[in-house]
């Protein structure tokens, strides 16, 4: 299977791997057919992601896609992340061979879920303060 230099770089030097203390949002993407599981932790300030970290179980492309997704998330608003298409993650790893497309899907799904979780926590907090 041929992988892009960007994918290999993310696999070899994953960005933002690991967990986060007291995250503002947590979300998972799971691809049961492949048993892939990606989890994101987000730190949010003023509705914008300032830090994202990932954990991943899966093949090399899944780990690379999760790493690239944390870079995509940083600096984006939660609303923007809710709409994040898998194609953006795929582009960030320089494309994926057809049998590995799910790597981008599982990463994008995980990020969207984390963004939704962060938004819902924000709403709960603002509701409590109202």
């Amino acid at each position: 299977m041929q992988y892009s230099p960007a994918l290999i770089d993310h696999f070899r030097n994953p960005r933002n791997a690991g967990i986060m203390r007291s995250p503002d949002g947590v979300g998972e993407g799971e691809y049961k057919e492949c048993m892939d599981l990606v989890r994101f932790h987000l730190r949010v300030r003023a509705g914008e992601v300032v830090e994202a970290r990932f954990q991943a179980y899966g093949c090399g492309p899944t780990i690379a896609a999760a790493s690239a997704a944390t870079e995509l998330a940083t600096g984006r608003t939660l609303e923007a992340l809710l709409e994040l298409p898998a194609a953006h993650v795929e582009a960030a790893v320089g494309g994926l061979p057809e049998p590995r497309r799910h790597a981008a899907e599982v990463a994008a799904l995980g990020l969207r879920t984390a963004a939704r979780d962060a938004l819902s926590r924000l709403e709960t907090r603002s509701g409590r303060h109202a």
């Binding site: 992988y3 691809y31 048993m35 090399g60 780990i63 057809e98």
Partner: protein
């Protein structure tokens, strides 16, 4: 520049230089069709028959008992379908961990009305000869059990199974693709009636293989055409490839015994190196009754393809036990049959050693594996 270490010899092997040398004239001056009566054809025929003699000698079989094919898959298909279709209907016995060439061939016969028993294996991947005995029916037409499994290397009790087959008068096919030229095979002591073997697993060329068919075995051909190979396999023979296979077999008879002992030591060095430095690993396959160069290790909670990719980036070629081919990954059916839990089997990596493997290679692979697995595990999320 990384060191390059090839530990995928069960998939394919580099061709012996002596084999290449033996093959070359058959692409040029000895290019004739071995079925032709003229001098060009007879030169090719001579190469073909010399190779047949070399292989027959190696197996202590008769020349007329060797049929050349295009690969191990064709040999398995010819053996299984040839015998079964010759009987018309009946029952076949095989194991759950056979190569797909055997399993699919048997399944295709089920589609034609044959019945089949797929034998279970134990935790080491062994077929129980008593289970074979119990599975035999009055209409059993063939027993097909592999000599050694390519993934785990476990060597089956073919002698005991062969004795059962012979006592019941049932033809016994052995897929010997992974053992031929690596460990001794005694056709008579094991009562083997049909043996599949291949070229590219033993430092010969790809696209050439063979089937030993014991004299008197009743079977029909499954590929129809000319009168080649004593009417058992139609099609002009791959003369250069066959010459290469014959030469490879000669080389194996020289190298096999010494190499088996050397590779067993290296194989065990690899396992010890990993076992003592990486937590949560297990060896799949029989601890001792195993191919000399095969070491299948399961890394718990790591996905095998990520290990294969990580090692490839370090110049190391190994093979994944679970393969994600079209967005759907399943653990190896061999490991499933052995009862290996999914958390382990998803992280199965097969290392298969060969002629070029050195102790330094093994140490390099261990050194590359230890931090890689630690790094991959450090990012694994717990499942709720």
């Amino acid at each position: 520049m990384n060191r390059r270490v090839y530990l995928d010899h069960n998939a394919s092997t580099p061709v012996y230089p002596e084999v290449v040398e033996a093959m070359l004239p058959y692409f040029g001056e000895r290019f004739g069709n071995p079925s032709s009566v003229h001098g060009f054809g007879q030169e090719a025929r001579e190469g073909l028959e010399t190779a047949r003699e070399q292989i027959a000698h190696f197996l202590r079989a008769g020349k007329e008992e060797i049929v050349f094919t295009s690969g191990g898959t064709e040999s398995d298909n010819l053996a299984i379908k040839g015998v079964a279709l010759g009987r018309g209907r009946g029952h076949l016995i095989t194991s759950r961990i056979e190569h797909h060439a055997v399993l699919r061939a048997v399944e295709s016969l089920e589609g034609l009305g044959f019945e089949a028993t797929y034998l279970d294996v134990d935790g080491d991947g062994l077929v129980d000869p008593e289970a074979v005995q119990r599975a035999v029916r009055s209409d059993t037409v063939l027993i097909s059990v592999m000599h050694a499994n390519s993934e785990i290397g476990t060597i089956q009790p073919v002698r005991e199974i062969g004795a059962i087959a012979r006592a019941r008068g049932i033809p016994f096919h052995v897929d010997g693709v992974q053992t031929f030229g690596k460990v001794p095979i005694d056709l008579d002591a094991c009562n083997i009636d049909l043996l599949s073997f291949s070229g590219h697993k033993i430092y010969g060329p790809k696209g050439v293989a063979g089937l030993y068919i014991r004299k008197g075995t009743r079977m029909v051909s499954v590929q129809h055409g000319g009168e080649h190979e004593r009417r058992r396999r139609a099609g002009t023979e791959n003369v250069a490839g066959i010459v290469g296979l014959g030469r490879a077999v000669q080389m194996r008879s020289r190298d096999m015994a010494g190499e088996a002992a050397r590779l067993t030591g290296l194989r065990d060095r690899l396992w010890e190196g990993i076992r003592t430095r990486v937590p949560d690993v297990r060896l799949s396959g029989h601890p001792t009754r195993r191919l000399p160069g095969t070491c299948n290790i399961c890394f718990r909670d790591v996905e095998s393809e990520s290990i294969v990719l990580g090692l490839d980036l370090k110049g190391v070629a190994v093979s994944a036990g679970s393969a994600c081919t079209s967005g759907n990954v399943e653990p190896s059916y061999v490991l499933v049959a052995m009862g290996v839990p999914v958390a382990w089997s998803m992280g199965a990596v097969r290392h298969s050693l060969g002629r070029s493997t050195t102790a330094e290679d093994i140490d390099y692979v261990v050194e590359a594996t230890v931090p890689l697995v630690a790094k991959l595990r450090s990012a694994v999320p717990g499942r709720v």
